[in-house]
Symmetry: C2
Subunit: 293 residues, 2 copies
């Protein structure tokens, strides 16, 4: 099979798989009906599932069967989904469009969206803790990646940066927290579901994850300028209008594209010690570097 | 020593103890300074630490040393603190006063308060996962208590209930989730830090926790009517103004007081199989039933 087709088949199958896991986790419960609907709305039926794919690909590197990875794949998607719901709220980015649909607070009201995000974060830890290969080390890793020293911290720096001029190092530090921390967590959590890695191998995986996370964000900056609201399914050109520093505003489009290629190379180099076992991880980072939405 | 004095000494020592644990967890970090300040503001230097005291008392029942309980005591306080920050936001209760000070969003702005709450929830799970007696069962228990089937679900029902007439069963069901779930979690998490309980003992502890949680909330309803904003450190009379059903609006003050006494008796009866080992738990529920703020 053509490698691109094979990857499309694999990623489609894994995306469908995590969708099933999320669907089961979000089975309607007695009690707060509106809250459950908002949670399902925010999580199901959309998204590229980049973080879940990274977890499954990293699991394959460590000979973990997909069912051993399901819980961590779902947990990183739940954290991501909650962050989008809160990020879109009026007091944050105040956005009305997400994945081509009205944002959660537009559809359900602000209070319900706030609670839905809160409950999705709880559910992420519950899903992780009930997973087939659950460990307290995994829970600590995910919590650290989501919190003040990770994603939430990055969003706070992002917030404070509007209208300011960050230098490149500051910008990349913000990205390393805001999107990088959860992407790195997805890679390491997936690997922890399989055979133990040596310290050197874990270091190589970390270099892969750092490069891939940053490439993901630089592409995001490029697409914010080049993409249309329709192709992205979210409001295009928002960073520029909000005066937020981006890789593109700092270095220009061409430099941004070159940076993505360099990061793609770093990711590839980091994986070389693993040989063919790293095939899926390599494919995922190539796919991230070429995405158009 | 007079038993009341002995309890005051014990509870003061434990409250101070968990304050130290929280202080260490919230040591200022590099990165998002404003976010860290908001998190510290929301957590440190205030509150009755009811949930932490329940965890320590329950730990004593199971012969757990205080240092074995520290992590779970801090984690339930962090979940509680995050819920207050989000509950006070303009899109929720829109309150300006908490523990006698401006609420977090008044002091730091809405976006930072939102992120501080989010990061405090993450920190709760990180603290729990790094605890001396950490287990994935504990993480699952706390996550379930915080999420859609627990605290967040109860807040969603509370939200939907404004202006509606709930019957007593519906009101108690809402309270069982909104405040009861986390109080029950505190009791069970504390117990899990010590020697294993029999199924019957766990059932007895559950009955104690359910009665104590509901007593806590009925007292809250009474104080909302009887207390002053100054004595409570938060806005008094809010439930009535917001048209929220409470135990008092449904049954009257006298019936509410009788209900508290009945629940206090239920809590005492539930503990009787444990004998003297349950002394602290008994004292905590007595203290909760008599609190004036």
């Amino acid at each position: 099979m053509d490698p691109d087709v094979a990857f499309a088949v694999w990623s489609g199958e894994r995306a469908q798989r995590v969708e099933g896991v999320l669907e089961r986790l979000l089975a309607p419960a007695a009690g707060a009906r509106e809250l459950h609907e908002a949670m399902r709305y925010a999580v199901l039926g959309g998204g590229k599932r980049v973080r879940a794919l990274l977890a499954y690909a990293s699991g394959e590197l460590c000979d973990a069967e997909p069912d051993a990875v399901d819980a961590v794949a779902a947990s990183v998607e739940l954290i991501h989904a909650y962050s989008l719901v809160h990020d879109d709220l009026p007091c944050m980015d105040d956005d009305v469009l997400r994945r081509g649909n009205p944002t959660c607070h537009v559809a359900f009201g602000e209070a319900t969206a706030l609670l839905a995000g809160d409950a999705l974060q709880s559910l992420a830890f519950e899903a992780l803790a009930r997973g087939a290969r659950a460990s307290v080390a995994q829970a600590a890793l995910l919590a650290h990646a989501a919190g003040a020293s990770g994603m939430a911290g990055g969003q706070a720096i992002d917030l404070a940066s509007a209208g300011k001029r960050l230098d490149l190092a500051e910008l990349e530090q913000m990205h390393a927290l805001k999107t990088g921390a959860l992407i790195r967590a997805a890679v390491h959590l997936g690997a922890e579901c399989g055979r133990a890695l040596t310290r050197g191998e874990t270091g190589a995986l970390e270099r892969y994850a750092v490069a891939t996370g940053l490439a993901f964000q630089v592409i995001d900056d490029i697409l914010d300028v080049e993409g249309t609201t329709q192709s992205l399914g979210k409001t295009a050109g928002k960073d520029v209008r909000q005066g937020k520093p981006t890789y593109v505003s700092l270095k220009g489009l061409e430099a941004a594209r070159r940076r993505v290629e360099a990061l793609r190379g770093e990711a590839r180099d980091a994986l070389s010690p693993f040989g063919a076992r790293a095939r899926r991880l390599l494919e995922v980072s190539d796919w991230i570097s070429q995405r158009r939405h």
